[in-house]
């Protein structure tokens, strides 16, 4: 009976509002930090010159593509446009796919916030595995496309 009362007390309208407010206050500094960092990177990292880093070979390109995607931020639309341009410039599909996938799955910029929320081990494992998976997916997509379009 007492535990039911406790539950009602902790999940009522006012406690829920208070709890939500506290949560927002806790996450907002992280969101603000990521947004500010994103602005800095968008202003200072020359996205249009990315193709200069590519062209070193099949696996190296994939690795560099995944690396660039991992440290990039912004709407995935940017990665599609960039990926399309890179393909036109002759960059391999492996590198472009690795870039597209890591862009949306690996979050270096938000890593401090992820560590703060879920712990260091989880954040590093999740992002590390995502980086590895970006390379694997890029390779599998390349092979699948070759088989399907042969």
């Amino acid at each position: 009976m007492d535990s039911k009362k406790e539950l009602r007390k902790s999940t009522g309208l006012s406690p829920s509002l208070r709890k939500t407010g506290k949560m927002l206050l806790r996450i907002f500094p992280n969101i603000l930090a990521i947004v500010l960092l994103s602005g800095l990177i968008m202003e200072f990292v020359p996205m249009s010159r990315l193709s200069e880093f590519l062209g070193g070979g099949f696996f190296t390109d994939g690795l560099i593509g995944a690396g660039i995607g991992s440290i990039s931020i912004g709407n995935p639309v940017v990665s599609y446009v960039l990926g399309g341009e890179l393909l036109d410039q002759g960059v391999s599909l492996m590198a472009v796919t690795a870039l597209l996938v890591s862009w949306v799955t690996v979050g270096s910029i938000q890593l401090p916030a992820e560590i703060q929320t879920f712990g260091t081990r989880f954040a590093f494992l999740r992002n590390g595995i995502s980086f590895l998976f970006a390379l694997i997916i890029a390779f599998l997509v390349l092979i699948t496309m070759q088989i399907l379009t042969a």
């Binding site: 200072f44 399309g84 699948t144």
Partner: protein, 177 residues
Amino acid sequence: MKKPASNQQSKGKNESVSGVYLFLLIVLLVYLGVFLIDSSRTLAAVQFSFEMLKKLLPILGLVSVFMFLNNLLVKPSWVKNRVGYDSGWKGMLIAVVGGTLSMGPIYIWYGILQELQQKGMRTSLIASFLYARSIKPQLLPLLIYYFGWLYALVLVVYLVIFAVFNGLLTERLSIKS
């Protein structure tokens, strides 16, 4: 299934105020340093960030509503049944579909996922949810426009499969280590 110790729970409760503001403080210090080198481009970065924040506010509002509803209505027993350690493939399906349909940047969702974790959400499902956010149904026409429908289809199928793998592997390695 072996359940990991809920060290995140105590971590969340003990999170100090300085920890919450540390990341922001570091970024502000970086801004200060960069401002001393190139003030005009730093101001442009601030302007860009401000515009980005304005676009984020409606999504943040929506997430706040989800958080409030989660605090008000969602009981730990409900979470444990749907996305807990014994939720099986149904739980995975909820995580992948939820991740696919969730809007806005990834970090907006950290708070609500942390709450669900404290109520019993499985670690693998959090990782799968975060990975499945790479599938963007609303951007699919654009992906098809740039890379063709076959490429888009192949990529999406692999992203769904690897969202499941990512969750399972992250959880397994978290527990092992």
